[in-house]
Amino acid sequence: MTDPGAAVEAAVADAHRREWALVLAATVRVTRDLDAAEECAQDAFAAALTDWRAHGVPARPGAWLTTTARRRALNVLRHRGVEQRSLPLLVADEETPGPDDLVVDPAGAELPDDRLRLVVTCCHPALDRPAQVALTLRLLCGLSTAQVARSFLVSEPTMAARITRAKKKIALARIPYRVPPAAELPERVDAVLVVVHLLFTTGHTVPAGEELVRRDLVERSVELARMLRRLLPADPAVAGLLALLLLTDARRETRTGPDGRLLLLEEQDRSRWDRAAVEEGTALVREALRARPPSRYALQAAIAAVHAGSPRWEDTDWDEIVALYEVLAQLWPSPVVALNRAVAVGFASGPAAGLAELDALGAEPQLAGYGYLPAARADFLRRLGRAPGAREAYTEALLLTENAVERDFLTGRLRALGGS
């Protein structure tokens, strides 16, 4: 880049992506007020635009931004009386912010990393799932309310109200800004993993709309999983989730054709799968599977790793995949896992066996209205040459699918069957 202004802008944008959560989390500890901390962090990024233009981009942008935001926060605290606060202060471990908090050793002394506090607070079980998701995107990823609203197809005022209510509850009900004690940590981290996984799956196949993938949501969720991995390097469930995300996302570029058409695993060009992501994910799976019992993410990642390790569709080790689904179904029984297992049985032992497994699930109330069940049935019926039944099942799947790319796929299959 030749334009220094543009280079600085790019550096600030990059820092926002990488360092927002660190800057905000460290500032919350000073303000003990989420709104005030957000303002100070935003001010710090705005200040970076002018300061870095004049003095160059600092060697450690995160440290510069954190120091600036925390200094600003101390100023705000000094000039703000209790009467100006709309909400009580967050409950945190007793730490009085003082001048020491501002000293950042230029040689690279570590700043306090409060991101784990921030993320477990955002995903506290006393907040409902939509609130956890919204706060995580807003406070950990630094998305604006408008961006969060767009990600979940709700209006901006609705999302603003959701975020405000959640912040109010944190303050008024005194949800502590704290890393929970070791005994409670696994459960609290699990809630965080559920949120990150939900962000990923929402981005990976958008429930309704024109595009199949919401790239931004997928990338944000992978970044969050990476952050958790750095914060909790010994946690096998975290390793499992990051592995699952990397291995699934490695196929992203091959999931649709040049015309935007949905391509099945069977049709994807495996040479274009992201090899670096596959290698990183596969190494993480090995680590994650060492835990007893393995986490559900580790098992799902192991299944994704079997696919990633097969040079061709025909080489897929379906017996291994069925076995992994069986362990998964034992440890975390769910109708969706049972459905996936049935599909794997169909590839391991033939479409008739798969169909029998699927039909056994037909009465499962949780799968009523789940479009992947009739879609899987349709595929086995098609492979068995039972066109009328396949047509009926594709039609049912179409009624239950709101994603345009998936609808096109099902319509194409239906058309190829011909007939009435």
Partner: protein, 113 residues
């Protein structure tokens, strides 16, 4: 420190038909609960069991009616007022609170200082 009200919502019919033995069991469970609260970092400030909603009288705008304010399957049957440093502590206490025919709701008490 903050105060939380733990509202106990339970199916009243279970108690109406439970007899003497159930009553003794539940009383013992509440005694045990009261003894356990301090071990979890909370302090019991008060509490009471209420007579069933069949004894309730509602008043709205000066008009008196027979019955509870809202008819629900699981009715408010009692409460505890606890002091706790944060919600996590209050929830740890609430998890111990006996409510075998329903559950409890935890509400922070408004503070005016």
């Amino acid at each position: 420190m903050a105060q939380y009200l733990i509202l106990i919502h339970e199916d009243e019919t279970a108690y109406a038909t439970g007899g003497e033995e159930l009553y003794r069991e539940v009383m013992a469970a509440h005694d045990e609960f009261a003894a356990a609260v301090p071990q979890h970092g909370g302090k019991l400030l008060g509490g009471a069991a209420l007579q069933p909603t069949t004894t309730a009288t509602s008043v709205r705008g000066g008009e008196v009616t027979d019955g509870p304010f809202a008819e629900t399957k699981e009715a408010l049957g009692g409460y505890y007022l606890v002091e706790a440093p944060d919600l996590d502590t209050a929830l740890a206490v609430a998890k111990l609170c006996p409510a075998r025919f329903g559950g409890v709701e935890v509400r922070p008490v408004m503070s005016f200082d």
